[in-house]
Protein backbone atom coordinates (compact mmCIF):
# COMPACT_ATOMS: atom_id res chain seq x y z
CA UNK A 1 0.00 0.00 0.00
CA UNK A 2 1.36 3.42 -0.96
CA UNK A 3 1.25 6.34 1.47
CA UNK A 4 0.20 9.12 -0.85
CA UNK A 5 0.59 12.00 1.57
CA UNK A 6 4.26 11.20 2.12
CA UNK A 7 6.53 14.03 0.86
CA UNK A 8 7.80 13.63 -2.68
CA UNK A 9 5.25 11.11 -3.90
CA UNK A 10 4.13 11.16 -7.55
CA UNK A 11 0.46 11.47 -8.46
CA UNK A 12 -1.17 8.13 -7.62
CA UNK A 13 -2.64 7.82 -11.11
CA UNK A 14 0.79 8.12 -12.74
CA UNK A 15 2.20 4.99 -11.06
CA UNK A 16 2.16 2.08 -13.48
CA UNK A 17 4.45 -0.35 -11.68
CA UNK A 18 5.83 -0.81 -8.18
CA UNK A 19 9.10 -2.73 -7.92
CA UNK A 20 11.22 -3.81 -4.98
CA UNK A 21 14.91 -3.15 -5.33
CA UNK A 22 17.84 -4.15 -3.12
CA UNK A 23 20.95 -2.02 -3.46
CA UNK A 24 24.51 -3.41 -3.50
CA UNK A 25 24.69 -2.18 0.12
CA UNK A 26 21.71 -4.46 0.86
CA UNK A 27 19.29 -1.59 1.47
CA UNK A 28 15.72 -2.18 0.33
CA UNK A 29 14.07 0.44 -1.85
CA UNK A 30 10.75 0.69 -3.64
CA UNK A 31 10.71 1.97 -7.22
CA UNK A 32 7.52 3.61 -8.45
CA UNK A 33 7.65 3.51 -12.22
CA UNK A 34 5.43 6.28 -13.58
CA UNK A 35 4.02 7.71 -16.78
CA UNK A 36 5.50 11.14 -15.93
CA UNK A 37 7.95 12.65 -18.37
CA UNK A 38 9.39 16.07 -19.10
CA UNK A 39 6.66 18.25 -20.61
CA UNK A 40 8.81 19.09 -23.62
CA UNK A 41 9.48 15.45 -24.53
CA UNK A 42 7.68 14.31 -27.68
CA UNK A 43 4.77 11.96 -27.17
CA UNK A 44 5.85 8.34 -27.85
CA UNK A 45 3.12 8.04 -30.51
CA UNK A 46 4.48 10.99 -32.50
CA UNK A 47 7.98 9.55 -32.32
CA UNK A 48 6.76 6.24 -33.78
CA UNK A 49 5.11 8.01 -36.70
CA UNK A 50 8.28 9.92 -37.49
CA UNK A 51 10.32 6.72 -37.42
CA UNK A 52 8.00 4.95 -39.85
CA UNK A 53 8.28 7.78 -42.38
CA UNK A 54 12.07 7.73 -42.55
Amino acid sequence: MLDQVRPGMPAKDSVREVMNFVSPQNVRYKILRTSEMDAYDPAPKAEKKRASKS
Binding site: V5, A11, K12, D13, Y40
Partner: protein, 282 residues
Protein backbone atom coordinates in the same frame (compact mmCIF):
# COMPACT_ATOMS: atom_id res chain seq x y z
CA UNK B 1 16.06 30.17 11.10
CA UNK B 2 15.00 31.66 7.77
CA UNK B 3 11.64 30.68 6.28
CA UNK B 4 12.73 27.89 3.93
CA UNK B 5 9.62 28.40 1.81
CA UNK B 6 10.98 31.83 0.90
CA UNK B 7 14.47 30.59 0.19
CA UNK B 8 14.28 31.05 -3.56
CA UNK B 9 12.80 34.10 -5.20
CA UNK B 10 11.82 34.27 -8.87
CA UNK B 11 11.08 37.53 -10.68
CA UNK B 12 10.42 36.32 -14.23
CA UNK B 13 7.99 33.74 -15.59
CA UNK B 14 10.21 31.01 -17.07
CA UNK B 15 7.58 29.97 -19.62
CA UNK B 16 7.27 33.36 -21.35
CA UNK B 17 10.22 35.34 -20.02
CA UNK B 18 7.80 38.08 -18.88
CA UNK B 19 8.44 39.91 -15.64
CA UNK B 20 6.32 38.63 -12.75
CA UNK B 21 3.98 41.16 -11.11
CA UNK B 22 5.76 40.52 -7.82
CA UNK B 23 8.38 38.01 -6.69
CA UNK B 24 7.27 34.38 -6.72
CA UNK B 25 8.38 31.80 -4.17
CA UNK B 26 8.16 28.37 -5.84
CA UNK B 27 8.55 26.51 -2.54
CA UNK B 28 5.46 28.14 -1.05
CA UNK B 29 2.62 25.67 -0.27
CA UNK B 30 0.32 24.92 -3.20
CA UNK B 31 2.33 26.59 -5.96
CA UNK B 32 2.10 25.43 -9.58
CA UNK B 33 5.22 24.39 -11.50
CA UNK B 34 6.86 27.72 -12.37
CA UNK B 35 7.16 26.83 -16.04
CA UNK B 36 3.38 26.41 -16.33
CA UNK B 37 2.58 30.07 -15.50
CA UNK B 38 1.76 32.15 -18.57
CA UNK B 39 0.03 35.12 -16.93
CA UNK B 40 0.17 36.83 -13.57
CA UNK B 41 -2.29 39.47 -12.40
CA UNK B 42 -4.23 40.67 -9.36
CA UNK B 43 -7.92 41.43 -8.92
CA UNK B 44 -10.13 42.81 -6.20
CA UNK B 45 -13.62 41.27 -5.95
CA UNK B 46 -16.44 43.80 -6.28
CA UNK B 47 -17.04 45.25 -2.81
CA UNK B 48 -14.19 43.19 -1.37
CA UNK B 49 -11.45 44.48 0.95
CA UNK B 50 -8.65 42.17 -0.16
CA UNK B 51 -7.12 41.72 -3.56
CA UNK B 52 -5.94 38.34 -4.80
CA UNK B 53 -3.22 37.31 -7.17
CA UNK B 54 -3.94 34.92 -10.04
CA UNK B 55 -1.25 32.75 -11.61
CA UNK B 56 -2.79 31.58 -14.88
CA UNK B 57 -1.26 28.28 -15.97
CA UNK B 58 -1.17 25.76 -18.77
CA UNK B 59 -2.12 22.97 -16.32
CA UNK B 60 -5.25 21.03 -17.24
CA UNK B 61 -6.76 17.75 -16.08
CA UNK B 62 -4.66 15.16 -17.89
CA UNK B 63 -7.68 13.46 -19.51
CA UNK B 64 -9.02 16.70 -21.06
CA UNK B 65 -9.34 16.80 -24.84
CA UNK B 66 -10.74 20.32 -25.24
CA UNK B 67 -9.30 22.59 -27.93
CA UNK B 68 -7.55 24.55 -25.20
CA UNK B 69 -5.98 21.45 -23.64
CA UNK B 70 -4.76 20.22 -27.01
CA UNK B 71 -3.50 23.70 -27.85
CA UNK B 72 -1.43 23.83 -24.65
CA UNK B 73 -0.03 20.34 -25.28
CA UNK B 74 1.03 21.14 -28.81
CA UNK B 75 2.51 24.53 -27.82
CA UNK B 76 4.57 23.04 -25.00
CA UNK B 77 5.87 19.91 -26.65
CA UNK B 78 9.31 20.09 -28.23
CA UNK B 79 12.76 21.27 -27.25
CA UNK B 80 12.36 24.85 -28.50
CA UNK B 81 10.94 27.52 -26.19
CA UNK B 82 7.16 27.58 -26.68
CA UNK B 83 5.74 30.51 -28.64
CA UNK B 84 3.88 32.87 -26.24
CA UNK B 85 1.31 33.57 -28.99
CA UNK B 86 0.44 29.85 -29.24
CA UNK B 87 -0.02 29.63 -25.48
CA UNK B 88 -2.17 32.76 -25.45
CA UNK B 89 -4.28 31.42 -28.31
CA UNK B 90 -4.86 28.13 -26.49
CA UNK B 91 -5.74 29.95 -23.26
CA UNK B 92 -8.40 31.97 -25.07
CA UNK B 93 -10.28 28.88 -26.30
CA UNK B 94 -13.21 28.42 -23.90
CA UNK B 95 -13.71 24.80 -22.83
CA UNK B 96 -17.46 25.44 -22.61
CA UNK B 97 -19.97 28.26 -22.73
CA UNK B 98 -23.20 29.10 -20.92
CA UNK B 99 -24.33 27.82 -17.54
CA UNK B 100 -26.22 24.60 -18.27
CA UNK B 101 -24.65 21.33 -17.20
CA UNK B 102 -23.36 19.70 -20.38
CA UNK B 103 -22.11 16.33 -19.10
CA UNK B 104 -23.70 12.90 -19.09
CA UNK B 105 -21.79 10.61 -16.68
CA UNK B 106 -23.84 10.18 -13.50
CA UNK B 107 -25.82 13.29 -14.33
CA UNK B 108 -28.62 12.32 -11.93
CA UNK B 109 -26.22 12.11 -8.97
CA UNK B 110 -24.25 15.24 -9.90
CA UNK B 111 -27.36 17.38 -10.19
CA UNK B 112 -28.95 16.19 -6.96
CA UNK B 113 -28.40 16.99 -3.30
CA UNK B 114 -27.80 14.36 -0.60
CA UNK B 115 -30.46 13.72 2.01
CA UNK B 116 -28.42 13.42 5.22
CA UNK B 117 -27.98 16.08 7.89
CA UNK B 118 -25.03 18.44 7.26
CA UNK B 119 -21.77 17.60 9.04
CA UNK B 120 -19.25 20.37 9.79
CA UNK B 121 -15.45 20.20 9.37
CA UNK B 122 -12.95 22.95 10.12
CA UNK B 123 -10.16 21.48 7.96
CA UNK B 124 -10.18 19.60 4.63
CA UNK B 125 -7.92 16.89 6.11
CA UNK B 126 -10.59 16.13 8.77
CA UNK B 127 -13.14 15.62 6.03
CA UNK B 128 -10.80 13.46 3.92
CA UNK B 129 -10.17 11.23 6.94
CA UNK B 130 -13.88 10.31 7.09
CA UNK B 131 -14.25 9.27 3.44
CA UNK B 132 -14.77 5.57 2.58
CA UNK B 133 -11.68 4.02 0.98
CA UNK B 134 -11.26 3.71 -2.78
CA UNK B 135 -11.49 -0.09 -2.89
CA UNK B 136 -14.74 -0.10 -0.89
CA UNK B 137 -16.30 2.35 -3.34
CA UNK B 138 -14.92 0.60 -6.44
CA UNK B 139 -16.48 -2.65 -5.22
CA UNK B 140 -19.92 -1.02 -5.51
CA UNK B 141 -19.50 -0.87 -9.31
CA UNK B 142 -21.55 2.31 -9.54
CA UNK B 143 -23.05 2.66 -13.04
CA UNK B 144 -21.80 5.63 -15.06
CA UNK B 145 -24.97 6.28 -17.08
CA UNK B 146 -26.82 9.56 -16.89
CA UNK B 147 -29.57 8.13 -14.67
CA UNK B 148 -27.11 6.77 -12.07
CA UNK B 149 -28.18 8.38 -8.77
CA UNK B 150 -26.50 8.79 -5.41
CA UNK B 151 -25.52 5.64 -3.53
CA UNK B 152 -25.95 5.56 0.26
CA UNK B 153 -22.38 6.74 0.91
CA UNK B 154 -23.02 9.80 -1.27
CA UNK B 155 -26.05 11.03 0.68
CA UNK B 156 -23.76 12.92 3.08
CA UNK B 157 -23.84 16.71 3.13
CA UNK B 158 -20.92 18.68 4.51
CA UNK B 159 -19.91 22.18 5.55
CA UNK B 160 -16.14 22.72 5.38
CA UNK B 161 -13.81 25.65 5.95
CA UNK B 162 -10.68 25.81 3.81
CA UNK B 163 -8.70 27.75 1.26
CA UNK B 164 -9.11 27.90 -2.50
CA UNK B 165 -5.78 27.20 -4.22
CA UNK B 166 -6.82 26.75 -7.84
CA UNK B 167 -9.78 26.51 -10.17
CA UNK B 168 -10.61 25.78 -13.80
CA UNK B 169 -13.60 25.55 -16.11
CA UNK B 170 -14.41 22.16 -17.60
CA UNK B 171 -16.03 21.00 -20.83
CA UNK B 172 -19.29 20.14 -19.03
CA UNK B 173 -19.60 23.70 -17.65
CA UNK B 174 -18.55 22.72 -14.12
CA UNK B 175 -15.91 24.76 -12.34
CA UNK B 176 -13.33 22.60 -10.56
CA UNK B 177 -12.23 24.14 -7.28
CA UNK B 178 -9.13 22.75 -5.60
CA UNK B 179 -9.65 23.37 -1.91
CA UNK B 180 -6.99 22.71 0.69
CA UNK B 181 -5.83 23.36 4.21
CA UNK B 182 -4.66 26.57 5.82
CA UNK B 183 -1.22 27.23 4.26
CA UNK B 184 0.14 27.78 7.79
CA UNK B 185 -1.25 24.49 9.15
CA UNK B 186 1.24 21.92 10.39
CA UNK B 187 1.33 18.54 8.69
CA UNK B 188 1.05 17.68 5.02
CA UNK B 189 -0.65 19.82 2.42
CA UNK B 190 -3.83 18.14 1.19
CA UNK B 191 -6.45 19.08 -1.38
CA UNK B 192 -9.70 17.79 -2.80
CA UNK B 193 -11.93 18.77 -5.70
CA UNK B 194 -15.15 20.68 -5.09
CA UNK B 195 -17.35 21.42 -8.08
CA UNK B 196 -19.49 24.44 -8.75
CA UNK B 197 -21.83 22.64 -11.08
CA UNK B 198 -23.34 23.50 -14.41
CA UNK B 199 -27.04 24.06 -13.86
CA UNK B 200 -29.88 21.55 -14.10
CA UNK B 201 -33.25 22.40 -15.63
CA UNK B 202 -35.13 25.08 -13.71
CA UNK B 203 -37.75 22.61 -12.49
CA UNK B 204 -35.08 20.50 -10.76
CA UNK B 205 -35.31 20.46 -6.93
CA UNK B 206 -31.59 21.35 -6.82
CA UNK B 207 -31.80 24.31 -9.21
CA UNK B 208 -32.16 27.08 -6.61
CA UNK B 209 -29.13 26.02 -4.52
CA UNK B 210 -26.92 25.27 -7.52
CA UNK B 211 -27.84 28.54 -9.21
CA UNK B 212 -27.18 30.53 -6.02
CA UNK B 213 -23.75 28.95 -5.47
CA UNK B 214 -22.78 29.39 -9.14
CA UNK B 215 -23.86 33.03 -9.04
CA UNK B 216 -21.90 33.58 -5.84
CA UNK B 217 -18.74 32.08 -7.37
CA UNK B 218 -19.10 33.99 -10.64
CA UNK B 219 -19.81 37.27 -8.85
CA UNK B 220 -16.67 36.94 -6.72
CA UNK B 221 -14.40 36.46 -9.73
CA UNK B 222 -16.25 38.79 -12.10
CA UNK B 223 -14.20 39.04 -15.31
CA UNK B 224 -11.46 36.88 -13.83
CA UNK B 225 -13.13 33.46 -14.08
CA UNK B 226 -10.75 30.67 -15.03
CA UNK B 227 -10.65 29.03 -18.46
CA UNK B 228 -9.47 25.55 -19.36
CA UNK B 229 -6.05 26.03 -17.74
CA UNK B 230 -5.99 26.08 -13.95
CA UNK B 231 -5.75 29.48 -12.29
CA UNK B 232 -3.72 29.30 -9.08
CA UNK B 233 -4.29 31.58 -6.09
CA UNK B 234 -1.54 29.96 -3.99
CA UNK B 235 0.47 33.13 -3.32
CA UNK B 236 -2.46 34.20 -1.14
CA UNK B 237 -4.99 31.33 -1.03
CA UNK B 238 -8.59 32.55 -0.87
CA UNK B 239 -10.49 31.69 2.34
CA UNK B 240 -13.59 29.69 1.48
CA UNK B 241 -16.54 28.08 3.24
CA UNK B 242 -18.25 25.40 1.17
CA UNK B 243 -21.40 23.38 1.63
CA UNK B 244 -22.38 20.54 -0.63
CA UNK B 245 -22.90 16.82 -1.11
CA UNK B 246 -20.19 14.18 -1.25
CA UNK B 247 -19.74 12.38 -4.56
CA UNK B 248 -17.43 9.55 -5.56
CA UNK B 249 -16.10 10.17 -9.07
CA UNK B 250 -16.62 6.65 -10.42
CA UNK B 251 -15.78 7.82 -13.96
CA UNK B 252 -12.18 8.27 -12.82
CA UNK B 253 -11.92 5.28 -10.47
CA UNK B 254 -9.24 3.89 -12.79
CA UNK B 255 -7.01 5.86 -15.15
CA UNK B 256 -6.36 9.57 -14.83
CA UNK B 257 -7.92 11.39 -11.89
CA UNK B 258 -9.02 15.04 -11.88
CA UNK B 259 -6.68 17.73 -10.61
CA UNK B 260 -3.91 20.05 -11.77
CA UNK B 261 -0.59 18.19 -12.17
CA UNK B 262 1.25 20.29 -9.56
CA UNK B 263 -1.27 19.53 -6.81
CA UNK B 264 -2.47 16.06 -7.79
CA UNK B 265 0.19 14.22 -5.77
CA UNK B 266 -1.41 15.84 -2.71
CA UNK B 267 -4.98 14.91 -3.64
CA UNK B 268 -5.39 11.52 -1.93
CA UNK B 269 -8.95 10.82 -3.03
CA UNK B 270 -11.35 11.04 -5.95
CA UNK B 271 -14.17 11.86 -3.56
CA UNK B 272 -15.47 15.34 -4.34
CA UNK B 273 -17.88 17.85 -2.97
CA UNK B 274 -20.26 17.79 -5.93
CA UNK B 275 -22.37 19.76 -6.29
CA UNK B 276 -21.41 22.74 -4.17
CA UNK B 277 -24.71 24.06 -2.78
CA UNK B 278 -23.33 27.13 -1.01
CA UNK B 279 -20.02 28.95 -1.24
CA UNK B 280 -18.59 31.98 0.54
CA UNK B 281 -15.28 33.28 -0.79
CA UNK B 282 -12.94 35.86 0.73
Amino acid sequence: MPDLRRLRKVTRLPLTGAKAEAPLYPLQVGMPALDSIHDDFAFRPKGGRSSYRVLRTTEVDSYEKTDAAQGFASALRGQKAPAPAAIEAAAKRPPSTGDQFAGTDRKAAKLSIGTAKTQTYSDVSQLIATLPLHDQMAALKIPLGSTSGRVTQEQRNIHVTGFLYASSREADNDFHLIVGRDPKASGPAMYMTMEVSGLPLQNSPAFADLNASRTSYKTFFGNNLPGAGYDYYSTNPIPVVVEGSLFWDATHSTGQAPGPPSLKPHMPTIWEVHPVTSIKLG
